[in-house]
């Protein structure tokens, strides 16, 4: 018996660690294409850029952990999966046999396709190596242009501004984080970034990139010592497709996170699965999703199979603002706000019909934790209760 895990990110690591925690005794091989031991990505766009955290703080476990737990770390890229003979082929020419295969291949950054993107001042942030380069290049930079007003872009903007750089954020949509939060939250973050001195350009079209500048709209130029693009990711589904497994916006898995090949699972950023919290299949990019799916698959491998049912949650830290999100707002038809954005502490409750489907909390951690439970238990909560700060959310759970 042997488990092979492709992908050494948060999900791959957690699968291996949870298998051992569940008592799995056979061979575990974790294949990753980055140097070093598996690490967590959230600090890379936050404390790491500010120099508050170093590489060792990002590492999930020290090297000795893998030896002690008999988890073999293999450095390399997988060239192909041979499902008939149950082997993965590495670029090096080696083969590894599996009984169960877990695809935790993650995602890669979407690349800009504009003129000038080959300039060496254009950077992306996903890996520790990329974060280290941005951190080093920020030292000498004065003007920083961030392309994309999503989580990564805004976290980088906040870090660069905290380091006293001149920062411009270029967002194509009419508001920040438009894909994931309600307008009231977008507006709150625009005001906060602008108050810190960030130039936030909405509905802005990037036309091209010059050696030390970016070109916007008609003849508008912005100086740019450094251009950092955070314009989303593309799931790594190619290996699965080449092995004849179905994939859409992610490798297709059932509610047990299994592909149609019962020996192969897919988890984390690369997997698209049915969700109890959405009306369609979803592919989520988050630590929570990677960790909980890994744990679910580890249990299934040791014989305790159960449908994946964890409540999705996310977070982003920008300056001293802590935004925590629970549930999935997709398809919401109305929102109510608890608390006042002007106090810098408020939560937004998203309803789909009668049902509470998501809650975003700004500096209100107790609301967030209550929301995880309310959404998980499918508790009935009406908008009036949600808005009423005298109504204790926890009492709704009883």
């Amino acid at each position: 018996m042997a488990v092979v895990i492709i992908g050494g990110g948060q999900g791959g690591f957690q699968t291996a660690a949870s298998l051992r925690a569940e008592g799995y005794q056979e061979r575990i091989t974790l294949i990753g294409d980055e140097p070093g031991v598996p690490y967590q990505r959230p600090p890379l766009s936050k404390g790491f850029l500010l120099g508050k955290q170093e590489q060792r703080h990002a590492e999930l476990r020290p090297a000795a952990f893998y030896e002690m737990q008999r988890i073999t770390l293999v450095k390399g890229r997988v060239a192909a999966i041979d499902r008939a003979s149950r082997r993965v082929a590495l670029d090096s020419g080696d083969h590894i046999q599996y009984d169960t295969l877990v695809l935790a291949t993650g995602a890669r950054n979407r690349q800009l396709s504009h003129e000038g993107v080959a300039y060496e001042n254009v950077l992306y942030l996903r890996t520790l190596g990329e974060a280290a380069e941005i951190r080093q290049r920020l030292e000498a930079a004065n003007d920083v242009v961030v392309i994309g007003g999503g989580f990564i872009g805004l976290e980088v903007a906040a870090a660069a501004r905290t380091l006293s750089k001149q920062v411009t954020v270029i967002e194509a949509q009419e508001r920040l984080m438009a894909r994931v939060v309600a307008p009231v939250v977008s507006e709150y973050f625009r005001i906060e970034h602008e108050a810190k001195g960030v130039d936030v350009l909405l509905n802005a079209t990037l036309r091209g990139i010059g050696e030390k500048e970016v070109l916007l709209g008609e003849r508008t130029r912005r100086p740019a010592d450094l251009v950092i693009a955070g314009i989303g990711v593309v799931p790594n589904v190619e290996l699965a497709i080449e092995a004849g497994l179905p994939a859409g916006n992610g490798i297709t898995v059932d509610k047990y996170l299994r592909t149609p090949d019962e020996r192969i699972y897919a988890i984390g950023d690369c997997a698209e699965c049915p969700s109890l919290f959405a009306e369609t299949c979803v592919r989520l990019e988050s630590v929570q999703n990677a960790v909980d799916q890994a744990t679910c698959v580890a249990k299934a491998i040791v014989g305790h199979s159960a449908p994946y049912a964890a409540v999705p949650w996310f977070w982003t830290d920008q300056y001293d603002i802590h935004l925590q999100m629970a549930g999935l707002p997709a398809g919401f038809d109305h929102v109510v706000t608890r608390g006042n954005p002007e106090t810098r502490k408020f939560s937004v409750f998203y309803f789909r019909g009668e049902r509470l489907c998501a809650v975003d909390s700004v500096n209100r951690p107790a609301d967030h934790l209550a929301a995880r439970k309310l959404i998980g238990a499918r508790t009935a909560l009406n908008p009036d209760q949600a808005m009423d700060e005298d109504f204790d959310l926890k009492t709704a759970l009883n």
């Binding site: 959230p42 703080h57 960790v291 951690p365 107790a366 934790l369």
Partner: protein
Amino acid sequence: MPKITYISDAGVSRTIDVPVGDTVMEGAVQNGVDGIVAECGGNCQCATCHVYVEEKFLPLLDPIGEDQDAMLDTTASPRKSNSRLSCQIHVKPELDGLVVHTPPTQQ
């Protein structure tokens, strides 16, 4: 380096040198101390690095922040007055000799 002692629910004790500035959680995870899971990686998001701090050290700790306070209400083992999230305890010279007890379960 300050020495931090971790005592498991079963009474197994380990003492580790933890660099100033690191957290008590990091000291545990980097040295393979069982009983601290730290699923979220130290971001005050998951309450799986819960510890009980020996009473005499409590006055040396920073006050419990709002995030930690909310998170402590969700721990898998009962919250007590000396409950803390170890990812929120930054090691400083005065904490040399700190003793924390890990709870029976974190999840």
